[in-house]
Symmetry: C2
Subunit: 376 residues, 2 copies
């Protein structure tokens, strides 16, 4: 034995990283890409990544706008629309399109689409030649208010959603409200679930505002939608800025998601994510009240706003309450068999337990309540 020969060396990699980026929100932003993207350190060549549905509507316009702004679209990688294409195979296909075109590090990725495109394009950018810049052009309300802030990218595997991926921040987000006009109403509604969630977890005035302006929201009034997107990004950015990697504070963004994800899985993704989150918020608000954390009057106000947005009162998924509770345990966020929820203590503020924002709930508490609400 020569244990006495032990030598130690330290690789010192302490540095300041600045991944800050601007989100631009407005109506008709494609015509001013040159000024919006200036000073973002972007090279000249662009790989435009989109899905077939979005590309048909907005692809040529973005291609022309990029050209007018002085960028060269070297390749267009357009994959079939749908969450079922958020796979390793799609990532490899996009990468091969870029590699065939011999694109080097002097390239950035333009992600034109909703959450799936943002995830796939962002994750591809994160790992292409070990990382190249990307810019998001979100085309859905959900992508504008939620997935464009936080830097989460990734893909689904048969074992679950978003299990493989990277944290990779965009150099800029261009949220052109004009995109919302081409969105199916059900997709607008899906985005509103996250909007309401952000109001509940962090901003009581914004909650009041949403109640007041609902008629304008329903007809996608650009001024109101601009304000909503802006306020939402600000709320989420506030959380993410304090806690870029997932630890405690960021958990509050999961309100409605513990039961929401369970519903989504139980429905085999037949229901939209936003619908599941909305119903998840209804159940979790009731659970918060049952645990003595949230006043009944606040539950009522949350339910009323979700009613206004047209979300169903209960799910119609063919599973028992026991099966639903069981599904919450396969969640990434389940720790050692315990299911963690986050709960509002009032509209605009979240409750903290002894472990921080994550609050463990036993089956004996969740089960009877869910059986009562769902009637099965």
């Amino acid at each position: 034995m020569m244990n006495d020969t032990l030598q130690q060396l330290s690789v010192t990699l302490r540095r300041t990283v600045d991944d800050s980026y601007p989100i631009f929100i407005g109506d008709g932003l494609f015509s001013r890409l040159g000024s919006l993207l200036r000073d973002r350190g972007l090279p000249k060549r662009v790989a435009l990544v989109s899905d077939t549905s979005v590309f048909a509507l907005h692809g040529p316009a973005l291609r022309d706008a990029l050209a007018a702004a002085g960028f060269a679209v070297a390749v267009e990688a357009v994959f079939p629309a749908g969450e079922e294409h958020k796979t390793r195979e799609t990532k490899a296909w996009i990468e091969d399109r870029l590699l065939e075109t011999k694109l080097g590090r002097d390239t950035w990725v333009a992600a034109l689409g909703g959450g799936v495109v943002g995830d796939m394009a962002g994750y591809t950018a994160a790992t292409y030649l070990r990382g190249i810049p990307f810019v998001q052009f979100p085309t859905t309300l959900l992508a504008m208010v939620d997935s464009s802030v936080g830097g989460k990218t990734g893909l689904d595997t048969p074992h679950g959603k978003n299990l493989i991926g990277a944290f990779w921040q965009p150099r800029a987000v261009i949220a052109d409200l004009r995109m919302l006009a081409t969105l199916p109403p059900v997709q607008v509604q899906a985005g509103l679930a996250e909007v309401i969630k952000h109001a509940v977890i962090a901003d009581p005035e914004f909650f009041d505002y949403l109640q007041a302006v609902w008629p304008q929201v329903a007809r996608l009034d650009p001024a109101v939608m601009g304000k909503i997107v802006h306020r939402n990004c600000a709320i989420k950015a506030g959380v993410v800025e304090k806690d870029e990697r997932e630890s405690d504070l960021r958990k509050i963004l999961n309100f409605g998601h513990t039961l929401g994800h369970a519903l989504e899985t139980a429905a085999d993704y037949r229901l939209l994510h936003g619908t599941c989150v909305a119903i998840g918020m209804r159940y979790e608000a009731e659970l918060a009240a049952a645990l003595g954390l949230l006043a009944a009057s606040d539950v009522k106000r949350i339910q009323a706003l979700l009613d206004q947005a047209g979300f169903p009162a209960v799910d119609d998924v063919e599973v028992s309450a026991a099966q639903l509770v069981e599904l919450t345990k396969s969640d990434k966020k389940a720790r050692g068999g315990h299911v963690e929820y986050v709960f509002p203590k009032q509209i605009g503020a979240m409750a903290q337990g002894e472990r921080g924002y994550g609050i463990r709930v036993g089956d004996e508490q969740a089960l009877p309540l869910l059986e009562r609400i769902r009637g099965r």
Copy 2:
């Protein structure tokens, strides 16, 4: 047009990141993993990733050592040995092994093997649940002196090597010199190419030391090998610390690699990377002299040390000089059709041109020289 509605919001993500980590070098380190890995913030569960050749030799010993140190090896993901398995398919297979075992963020990856294992295990760790910790247990000299420092991880595609990947730093590197005893001599030699490279680019005393101790190197004397690994890691760490992402300084690590990579490609990976780099250094040293950057006496000393290490004087690859020069242009580092080299100005110091360390060389300079040296 409602361009006047433009709103801007900034997501501020400025933070200090500390990715520093220790490299432990010694003979018989497995018996003290408990103390070496303490305070590294590692969770209890481990996924042990290795290849079939290395696992057969050292897998059970590491498994036992991890258990003795209080860690639980939850899964062993052992893939077939060889660079041809550094693929997307292998990464997906490793991920699926971890996912099947339902491993969460309370898991770290132990990479037991050479460069291919380090790359695959590191890249998998970088993207599993968007990133979990990993520790490298390098088993080859090349992995100890080169790939364990720098945080580069990745995989090969049919379009080229290391084109997809991530920068992901290990939490620690455990370089147990005992591993070298089981290494085929040709693999030891391959590692020595990078050792000599590090001496040439940064440390004249170390170059002298290598000449002096060569007999001990040849019989893998633990004290000498320990000193060599330590000095090498220190040289590479010095470069990487100043320049973690690839920009200028880090280029000096590419000495011998521009023509080396071209040879590797021309030989269709029949030649070891280390052999190609060694011959690449011979050619690039001659090129440096021809360009008036390096004294003929220094070229002679470099050639002599490479002779001592048993590297061939010229390659035996069946390509013309013109084809070889052409292949340097498909290098990741070729910028806009221009091929960039780095050259020593003396043993232990690199030349800087008007663009920094990267120096452009035209075909009319490289071609006649290569034809003369290679005799074809």
